[in-house]
């Protein structure tokens, strides 16, 4: 499912954490900044997800090629070797149906739209907030119920 909107902030009403069972959800954080990897890793772990990290788009692709799979991928745009847009396109071509969420500090609407068109489900401005994650988890749990 692809949404055409890029949310810069999310202030949706949230269900309580107990209502959302996140223990069996897995996530991959793809970012070339060790600081951002640590930050997003912690953010997601706080919500009970199992998290892995990758330094760039190519490493993320390699993980999938080795048979790994994740419910959620947080994809940075600007990375060396392979950037977020290219990695997203490649993953979709490979048939990956995980929720891929762009996390970028790109300001221009055009740049964000181009990133979305690579195959993202959502796109948020860095840094990710608790509200953003709440929103993503609601979406993930909704998708799980539909399947």
């Amino acid at each position: 499912m692809m949404l055409g909107n890029c949310a810069t902030s999310s202030s949706l009403s949230t269900t309580s954490d107990e209502d959302i069972v996140n223990n069996n959800l897995t996530a991959l954080v793809v970012d070339d900044s060790p600081m951002i990897r640590k930050l997003h890793d912690m953010h997601l772990k706080k919500f009970g997800l199992k998290v892995q990290v990758a330094e760039n788009g190519k490493n993320a692709i390699d993980l999938f090629r080795c048979g790994a799979s994740f419910n959620l991928i947080l994809m940075d745009k600007e990375m060396p070797i392979m950037d977020g847009a290219e990695a997203t396109r490649e993953l979709r071509t490979m048939g990956v149906t995980s929720m891929i969420v762009g996390v970028t500090s790109l300001d221009s609407i055009f740049d964000r739209q181009a990133f979305m068109e690579a195959g993202l489900d959502h796109c948020f401005t860095k840094p990710l907030t608790t509200e953003n994650i709440n929103f993503l988890l609601q979406e993930l749990n909704k998708n799980n119920e539909e399947n």
Binding site: S33, P34, M35, I36, K38, L39, M42, H43, K46, E78, S105, K126, P127, T129, T130
Partner: protein
């Protein structure tokens, strides 16, 4: 100074950092991620920020010394610095990066050089302030107290 005084000093100091625009809400979110299982989380993330920033500032200095200025490369570095600064709530540095990027777009060398100096200055201030804050926290912990939220 006794424990209560130290704790009050920390709260006042932290409040002033927000009031003076050195830190924003994003730093609060960072603190909220810290818990007993990860008691050094904030210090670790901020240390990574310092490493990252110093590397980027060095790259920027080198790039602006070149005969032929690569504005695209400079913009990429500033963009990264802006991103990481906003992620830890270093508001003043982040705002200066926005101005810096405008000068890059305009290919204005003078503007870029001036901005770089300002960014270096603001960065060193916020670094000093955060280090002072962490030191206060350590003093409180060493005195057997807990760090007020």
């Amino acid at each position: 100074m006794d424990l209560v005084q130290l704790q009050r000093q920390l709260v006042d100091y932290r409040t002033s950092l927000y009031h003076e625009g050195f830190l924003d809400e994003q730093f609060t979110q960072l603190q909220e991620l810290q818990d007993e299982n990860n008691p050094d989380f904030v210090v670790e993330v901020v240390s990574l920020y310092f490493e990252d920033s110093e590397r980027l500032l060095n790259e920027l200095s080198k790039a602006l010394e070149q005969q032929i200025i690569d504005f695209k490369r400079i913009d990429a570095h500033v963009h990264q610095l802006k991103g990481s600064s906003s992620s830890i709530g270093a508001q003043r540095v982040q705002k200066l990066c926005i101005v810096f990027r405008n000068y890059c777009e305009a290919q204005n060398v003078e503007g870029c050089l001036k901005c770089l100096q300002q960014v270096k200055h603001e960065y060193s201030i916020v670094k000093t302030k955060l280090e002072s804050m962490f030191q206060l926290e350590r003093q409180i912990l060493n005195a057997g107290g807990s760090v007020p939220v």
